[in-house]
Amino acid sequence: MRSKLIYVIFAIVVLMAGIVIAILLAEPVANSGGFAHPNFPGMQAGGDGMGRLAHIGTLAFLFQCLLQTLIVCLCALGVAERHRSNELWLYLGGTLIFSVIVWWQMYAGHQAFMQSGNTNYFMGFPVATSWQVYGTWFSAIPLILIYSLGFRKFIFTEEDEEKFNQLMAKQAEKTEQ
């Protein structure tokens, strides 16, 4: 996987750049980045949500899916190749699925609100926004757990520590000479 992972990362970033270019070239929509609130100076309003997503909704959805994948791949890149076991990939894959589900629920919740104009609330926020606030925060918690709980298994094993100590000892010898 060593030789391939950087190519996967490169492909993802190129695809994301391609999506951004496609969005830049998409049919422009007035006030797509918001507009001044008519009643309250200093506030911006979003206005027509459906119109703002009409030409770029799918592209933006894909952009975020790629970004979630990129984050997981970058975490894998940070793990030494010999520690990138099937177990690690299983955990990282699970994290990716979880984060994509959160993103999909958020996006779908927003779409549903735009169509119906109604929403339920969860812990103080409209459901779609709750997916963003709580879901996005929690969707990366598995990465924190993999790092912290799997530290001695994937990140810095006893063997790694021994190797590093040997390197340091070698360096100290060189300095003394």
Binding site: G33, Q44, R52, A80, T119, Q132, S148
Partner: protein, 498 residues
């Protein structure tokens, strides 16, 4: 108690500042050489590093600009906050272990030292140092100005200091900052960060509780008021739209691992194994403190729409108006101390890395060695850098506001675009080359400068930061793949295998 509101607030801020001065004096005894001054001799425990790391992440922007952004654009700005779990995870997966190992092996005391060792290139060191100095000037100037503006607002509420000038406030706040940074270097900086972090966490959680009691129906009533006024503002992409939001996710999430003042702190812990506890503790602290960002912004937008509070003159007034209208004086005192803590904890980190770049990295890149008597010159340059930044902030405030805006371009996004690929990818991919690194840094600087200077507004809320980050990322890998694979030193090869 209400009658003494201003006095209580000033008292809280004064106690905090006295603490900073005393910490500087204490840390001075422990600062014996340049390594102590810049990276605390790599001897800090996990709690200290965790608190220092998160408190430096959440600058004055988080306490003033953050709530202002929620007030202004609604939920869009939440994306800068909710990425923290991904951002911290990436920072630790990609940077924390290897930066610490390289720092140990090569006796590095700065980020340019690390990249110079990794790429065996003085050009990369030089460009990294220049990027840091430019960024530090912009960041420091805005932080010092923010500190002075807040201090003026607090002091002018009393009879005795009603006419206090902005210049006086810049002098007072900068003096405290300079004092503890010069005397105690990074040791004073990180230990003040510990208290600063604790204050920020307490302030964040207390503010959330207060915010939830403003409306009878709690947070849900506030969000439903905003939703009824403008549905998009309270939906996941806010008023700024989906691409602005996702762009922030990208730039702030990935970019955390490219912030020099943060990754430098990853070189300071005593043991590499401490990283396993530093990561969750930093994230927890950040989330607690960031509650203030979200809750004040939402409540203030709802309160203005509902007619409970008159419209704000400026969105950045959201936090100060909230504190004066909805909180008791004691809490306001804690939060204002927290605000100074947030500003100072970021400023001291920038002063430190800026000084390292000037006295250590730029001379090393040009002449092959740093200045003699580094500790002495570190103290001198810290003073000079702070004075230049303070003067620059005042000049920009009174004469030419565009100067701060231009250097403001060297904010988070520029650091993210120019440093993330070079550092975070470069430490984990043996195929990364010096030419790839130079290309990434130069392209990031040029794009951010051009977008900022030309005032280019991209469609669909796409930010220049996102464009520059993606470009530098693609160029870094592409150029590295196209150039000859570098021969790494034996020890660097070994570090990258661990």
């Amino acid at each position: 108690m209400e009658a003494y509101r201003q006095q209580i607030i000033i008292g809280a801020v004064l106690i905090y500042m006295i603490f900073c001065v005393l910490t500087g004096l204490w840390a001075m005894k422990r600062t014996k050489n340049a390594s102590d001054f810049f990276i605390a001799g790599r001897g800090l425990g996990p709690i200290v590093v965790s608190l220092a790391l998160f408190s430096s992440t959440l600058s004055g922007f988080g306490f003033v600009g953050g709530p202002g952004l929620v007030y202004s654009i609604g939920v869009s700005s939440f994306w800068m906050v909710v990425i923290s779990s991904s951002g911290y995870a990436l920072g630790f997966f990609l940077v924390a272990k290897r930066i610490r190992m390289i720092a140990d092996l090569h006796n590095c005391i700065s980020l340019p030292d690390i990249v110079a060792a990794r790429y065996k290139s003085e050009a990369v060191r030089f460009l990294m140092a220049i990027t840091i100095v430019l960024g530090v000037m912009g960041y420091l100037a805005t932080q010092i100005l923010a500190m002075a503006v807040v201090m003026q607002a607090i002091m002018s509420g009393t009879v005795m200091f009603a006419d206090i000038s902005l210049v006086t406030c810049v002098v007072i706040s900068s003096t405290v900052l300079i004092f503890y940074c010069v005397t105690g270097g990074i040791i004073a900086s990180v230990y003040t960060d510990v208290v600063q972090g604790a204050i920020m966490m307490i302030a964040g959680s207390l503010i959330l509780l207060t915010a939830m009691s403003v409306f009878d129906g709690g947070m849900q009533e506030a969000t439903s008021i905003i939703l009824a006024d403008d549905g998009e503002a309270m939906m996941p992409f806010g008023a700024a739209g989906i691409m602005a939001s996702l762009g922030w996710f990208f730039v702030f999430g990935l970019g955390l691992a490219g912030q020099p003042h943060l990754v430098t702190k990853m070189m300071m812990n005593k043991k590499i194994g401490d990283n396993r506890s530093i990561l969750p503790m930093s994230l927890f602290g950040y989330i607690m403190a960031a509650l203030l960002w979200i809750s004040i912004g939402v409540i203030m937008r709802a309160a203005v729409i509902d007619g409970m509070v008159p419209p704000l003159a400026l969105p950045d007034d959201a936090a100060s108006v909230f504190l004066s209208v909805f909180t008791n004086p004691l809490l306001a005192g804690i939060v204002f101390a927290g605000l100074f803590a947030a500003i100072m904890s970021t400023s001291d980190a920038f002063l430190n890395i800026g000084t390292a770049a000037i006295i250590h990295d730029i001379p090393k890149a040009i002449r092959g060695h740093s200045v003699k008597n580094e500790l002495f010159w570190a103290r001198v340059v810290t003073v000079l850098l702070a004075i230049v930044a303070a003067s620059f902030a005042l000049y920009s405030h009174f004469r030419d506001a565009t100067l701060v805006a231009i250097l403001g371009a060297f904010g988070w996004a520029t650091f993210a675009a120019s440093i993330f690929p070079v550092l975070a990818i470069g430490l984990n991919w043996k195929g990364a080359t010096a030419l790839g690194a130079v290309t990434a840094i130069v392209s990031a600087l040029i794009i951010n400068f051009v977008v900022q200077l030309a005032g280019i507004v991209l469609p669909y809320g796409i930010s220049g930061g996102l464009v520059s980050f993606l470009t530098s990322f693609v160029l870094f890998i592409a150029v590295s793949l196209l150039t000859q694979k570098p021969e790494l030193d034996e020890d660097m090869e070994a570090v990258m295998d661990i």
